[in-house]
Symmetry: C2
């Protein structure tokens, strides 16, 4: 064996939530939407001319970019799309986080941020959430190479007010500030209106949660035209054709159907609020989640034991084995029937 | 405006071939396959349960990885898949090209290599092809940080014998050697059998050309299990879910249908050989392409003039405005009817 291993980029990769494939399971572990994609998505899929798959997709993702721009009242030049928001965020790290100062993000947050920083050799510093798992804006005042946080935060589900985001932006005019809004459609207020005011703000969203399209890998960033142009330059230096023909065609339909989007997200919000009440009654405590999951711990039973018991019933939730949150479970919001089954089992098992 | 622009990764992005969308055009500019995907692909697309799109795809791309492994008689642990071979190659650059010594590749070659190196700040050195556009193995003997070349080479279409590849491998045991076989199915001999012998060899292929699936973005690398594991570690540090549910499902069908694959690639080879004869008769010269394109120049008419005349007829070919190859056109092989239309026009126009 040669010495080639000396030159390998060695990383500690992100471990994605398991994707079990049991016939009868209740899958509440990766925050997928329990409802199918919009009817238009299913129709275009059925009618799609498969012969077109021999052709490259539009490298500028034009149809999808235009549909997203129209939905939010933006110019297409203000929208960047990628293979899920992970791809979009990785491109943002690569494009904008090149300073010597550390990038700031919370200590409890989306577990990919430190993985990207590690892989790309980007210095970073985590800022501890307060005891109620809230982000303290003043922690982000110091000199840094960029700021990123999810809103609502993951895996806590805690929402930050727009005034607090504005506070962070006002103290960070010389670096890129990224608000990762994967879960914003479940009750939060988007920072999108601030992009006109702050030329260093990027708002990232995804079709994987509120638009029921995790399987098609669609994420997007919105910001001022110059930011989007820089992002596209790097994307074109990495892979010109990232989005499949079908992601573009189906994504357009997903974003067009406002009525279905409203209906399904309201259903999920209602189920979440019902679930909160039930969990509380069973002795769980949690912050006031504004996402499509609840991050909860039980007053007396360790999270790991509950996790194992649920798993035996083919009910999958997520457990993170890391400091401060070891005793919590992240429970995605499924259909009312799925959540009832979860509560029914917990009620019996905890009794 | 703040100083954030100081920290932007500024790059000279790759300019992809144009993707015109005219109603009646002959598209011979991006080496797409003129035939539709295998019948099984179209069947699975028609029958696909769109409700599944709400779920994340398998992060390990298992069904597709297993189908590719089975096709080539490999273990699944020897196969890595990505969003087109561009994604696979970008991951290879990121994972393996981290030495201080320059990576070697030909001066005339796939125009993405220097773009990736530039973006990722990887030192590189190009090695001039000889006068007949052939790679000289001895140019790759010196100390380097890795070696990459397409076989057949792009955009020349010239094939290197396996003995020459073995020669390069024998002189490079301490770095990763990548053979980029995007066009190998059109008449070349794959270096795949050498992966057992050389633990530093990666063979990269794609579904975009010989499998008529450019629109679904499927590429793959084959090599020893340790190489594939390193690649997956970096992939999981970048984006865990890169391949859409549909790319996985349709890709499996594309790789399973050996008969259709044989039939269509033989048709393209036959059309290519016919086209060579006709072009020769019209005063074009070119190396003996073993790919699904011909890289040709005319004995008296400048390439740019031919390019413009074809374009006016809605016949799109590719012209690279770079040194040594400015007077060449890269003409993809379409259907017999498309190539007859091309030849008919050229015959009249050149007369």
């Amino acid at each position: 064996m040669g010495n080639w291993e000396d030159y390998v980029r060695k990383v500690e990769p992100y471990v994605p939530g398991e994707q079990p494939d049991a016939a009868r399971m209740i899958k509440l572990n990766t925050n997928e939407n329990p409802y199918p994609p919009a009817p238009g998505v299913l129709r275009v899929l059925r009618e799609y001319d498969g012969n077109r798959l021999r052709l490259y997709p539009a490298p500028d993702c034009k149809p999808l970019v235009e549909a997203i721009a129209e939905y939010y009242g933006l110019k297409p030049e203000q929208v960047f799309t990628g293979v899920g928001s992970d791809d979009v965020l990785a491109m943002i790290f690569l494009t904008f986080f090149n300073a010597k100062q550390p990038v700031f993000f919370p200590d409890i947050t989306y577990s990919f941020y430190d993985v990207w920083a590690g892989m790309l050799r980007i210095p970073y510093e985590t800022k501890a959430l307060d005891e109620d798992f809230r982000i303290r804006p003043e922690d982000y005042y110091g000199e840094n190479g960029g700021v990123i946080f999810p809103n609502p935060n993951a895996p806590t589900g805690i929402l930050m007010e727009l005034s607090a985001i504005r506070d962070i932006l006002d103290h960070n005019r010389d670096v890129i500030v990224v608000v990762d809004e994967a879960y914003i459609d479940f009750g939060g207020e988007s920072a999108l209106p601030l992009i006109d005011e702050y030329d260093n703000l990027l708002v990232v969203q995804t079709f994987s949660k509120s638009r029921s399209m995790a399987g098609m890998r669609i994420g997007y960033a919105m910001g001022n035209e110059r930011l989007i142009r820089y992002l596209n330059d790097v994307k074109y230096s990495f892979n010109s054709y990232t989005m499949t023909q079908l992601s573009l065609a189906l994504g357009v339909e997903a974003v067009r159907d406002r009525a279905y989007f409203e209906e399904t997200r309201q259903k999920i919000i209602a189920t979440r609020e019902w679930t909160k009440g039930e969990l509380r009654g069973l002795g769980f405590t949690f912050g006031d989640s504004m996402s499509n999951f609840i991050f909860a711990r039980h007053e007396s039973v360790p999270a790991e034991e509950i996790f194992a018991a649920l798993r035996e019933q083919n009910i999958y939730v997520r457990h993170f084995n890391s400091e401060r949150i070891r005793n919590y479970l992240r429970i995605s919001i499924g259909t009312p029937e799925e959540m009832e089954a979860l509560i029914r089992f917990l009620r019996g098992w905890l009794a």
